[in-house]
């Protein structure tokens, strides 16, 4: 049977060979780029190129995830960027919104570089992060922590994880491990939070409410 003329020839011509090789190399290079990009952009070094993230970094540096006894150190991305190149890329695209806010804050709206503003908005950031952890069943925790391997320091820690953690995801119990302590969304009280921040930064009562409106 003769091939219709309108079909491209499948013959491995030089052009075709070139296209395949070039496309392949480009594809590989692109994937390598994405992997490397996701990898680099998941580091504290990159994240803190935004000034506002320095505040988060300071908290992180005091936490057990930075200075663990075992020598294992979780970096920003280990907790906040999903595993897998596509998911990681998607998270970074979403994360770029924060970059836009950061830039916008220099012109209008809240300037997250300001420690007071940052602290005032911390609860919403925490709630969003927790939603993400719950949505993916604490997948990022599980990159390092394996339920079966939890032993703990107290004799019953392992038994608790084996018997009483059923139907729960890590973040249901383990919150406030790294960043400023924020209560659960259901019991959060904005007014009390504002008063606490005012006290912490020595601001006149009511300042926080005014700043939140700006």
């Amino acid at each position: 049977m003769t091939k219709p003329r309108w079909l491209p020839s499948l013959a491995l011509t030089r052009h075709v060979l070139f296209a395949i090789v070039a496309g392949g190399v480009a594809g590989v290079l692109f994937m390598v780029f994405l992997i490397e990009f996701d990898h680099y952009t998941s580091t504290a070094e990159f994240c803190t190129t935004c000034h506002s993230m320095k505040i988060a970094e300071n908290e992180y540096r005091q936490s057990a995830h930075y200075r663990s006894a075992s020598g294992v150190r979780a970096d920003c991305g280990h907790c906040h960027v999903s595993e897998g190149v596509f998911a990681a890329t998607w998270d970074h695209i979403k994360g770029a919104q924060d970059l836009l806010k950061e830039i916008k804050g220099k012109l209008v709206g809240p300037d997250y570089d300001d420690p007071v503003i940052n602290a005032l908005h911390a609860p919403e950031a925490a709630f969003a992060a927790r939603r993400q952890f719950r949505a993916n069943d604490s997948a990022n925790c599980k990159r390092c922590h394996v339920l079966d391997a939890v032993v703990g320091k107290r004799p019953d820690t392992a038994a608790i994880h084996r018997e009483d953690a059923k139907g729960k995801t890590c973040v249901d119990c383990h919150m406030n491990l790294v960043h400023r302590k924020v209560p659960d969304e259901r019991t959060f009280k904005r007014d009390a939070w504002n008063r606490m921040i005012e006290e912490e930064f020595g601001l006149a009562p009511g300042t926080a409410d005014r700043l939140m409106k700006e």
């Binding site: 107290r154 019953d156 820690t157 038994a159 608790i160 018997e163 009483d164 729960k168 249901d172 119990c173 400023r180 302590k181 924020v182 209560p183 659960d184 259901r186 019991t187 959060f188 009280k189 009390a192 939070w193 504002n194 008063r195 606490m196 921040i197």
Partner: protein, 493 residues
Amino acid sequence: MSHPLRSAVVFPCALVVALLLPTPAGAAKVTLDKSHWGHEVGEKCVSCHQKASAGLTKQWEDSVHAKVGVNCMDCHQAEAKDADAITHEGYVIATVVSPKDCGRCHTTELAEHQGSVHAEAVSLIQDKVPSLAHTLTGVAMEAAGCAQCHGSVLKVRGDGTLDPSTWPNSGIGRINPDGSKGSCSSCHGRHRFSKAQAREPSACVRCHFGPDSPDKEIYEASKHGMLYAAQRDEMNLGSDTWVAGKDYSAAPTCVTCHMGAAGKLPPTHDVGMRNMWSLNTPVSQRQHLVVFEDGDKRELPDSMEAPKRGTEMEKGNGTVGKVKAVATPERRRQAMSSVCLECHSKPLVTDFMKQFDDVVLLFNEKFGAPATAIMQDLYARGVLTPQPFDEPIEFTYWELWHDEGARARHGAAMASPNHAWWEGMYLVGRNFYGKFLPQVREAAGKADGDAIIRKHLADVAGHAWLAQPQRTNPILGYPPKPAAPAAAEGTAP
């Protein structure tokens, strides 16, 4: 609703009225039906807490609470809007269980405790804390010292945590985030909440101990304490009802006299109700107990006229309330004495109370009142700065009434001769004459000091002996032995 004891103490012939009422014989029984407890998720806590905090879980498992189905959530439940609400394993709870929480079932005890000296323990020291805890020592002492007995003003921080300068705390007058005052676990050890434990004198000892309120030591040194120590196993401490003279007669404990049921006298969680005197003041006063419509109470010196029922009166906190009832000092003494009568005869009780009252009056007239007047004089003349505790005499005066003066009066109240005398009034006398008066002269100068002392002591009969320096007594070696003749020395071998 008026509590039976309140009626008994407050109204004339009230003991008769109380007789007719179906009063509870022990601590009030919870009369609510079971639908009030057994929170649907409360049992879920147990499995994890058996591992995470096995001790407290075991205490609860051994409690009457567990037996009748009162679970963790019955006490620790909270609403998200509560100031101290947190989420824990997906449920909204509160760490602090306030009297209001306990009062969901224990309504009588909550009502009685409200407005009592225990519930008001924070306000009792409010004006003392700045000088003692802040300037004399430091704020760290407020959390670890004062507030552990009197109670902290619990602070919930904006991040939902309890401020460690106010928590942990089980002070009896703790001001809770829900506005209620007190901490039931101050006396009722959590999470066992054993009746027997709360009836033990040790339930009171954590606070009623030490130089200013050595009630533990006084009790132990009294014949009441002697009998208790020897016959503790006959105390029937775990009994359902615990009526003195009926359920036990081996010895009285703190609870017996200050709270317990005795004969026809119903029990109360207003621990100061039966106290006629204020004993921890520079000058003791006989006191009315004014009970307001809303359950608040106020101690009112009987030098002030007792308000009529239904009239309005300022409460301790400055607000105004409607007077529901007034327990006169006599009624309060009557209530206390009716406990004594379970074991003692009426004349003995009356005469014992006279011995006690005489000590209080002696302290008042001879030491408390003149020392206070002298201090006011020194402040008025500008001899002392207004700042407390920056002059030695301020310590002397403070301890005179607050430490040894209180010990003497408590010792007499609870029959420890040693505390009434050596630990009490002897030291009052020693420090008054040996320290306080010399310090008055030191601060004001000899001439002015003598004048001030004369002015305030001249009319007090108890100080007349100072004008008789030639009176003799061999106690300190007077008269001196005549010197031995010189010749005698030579004859010695």
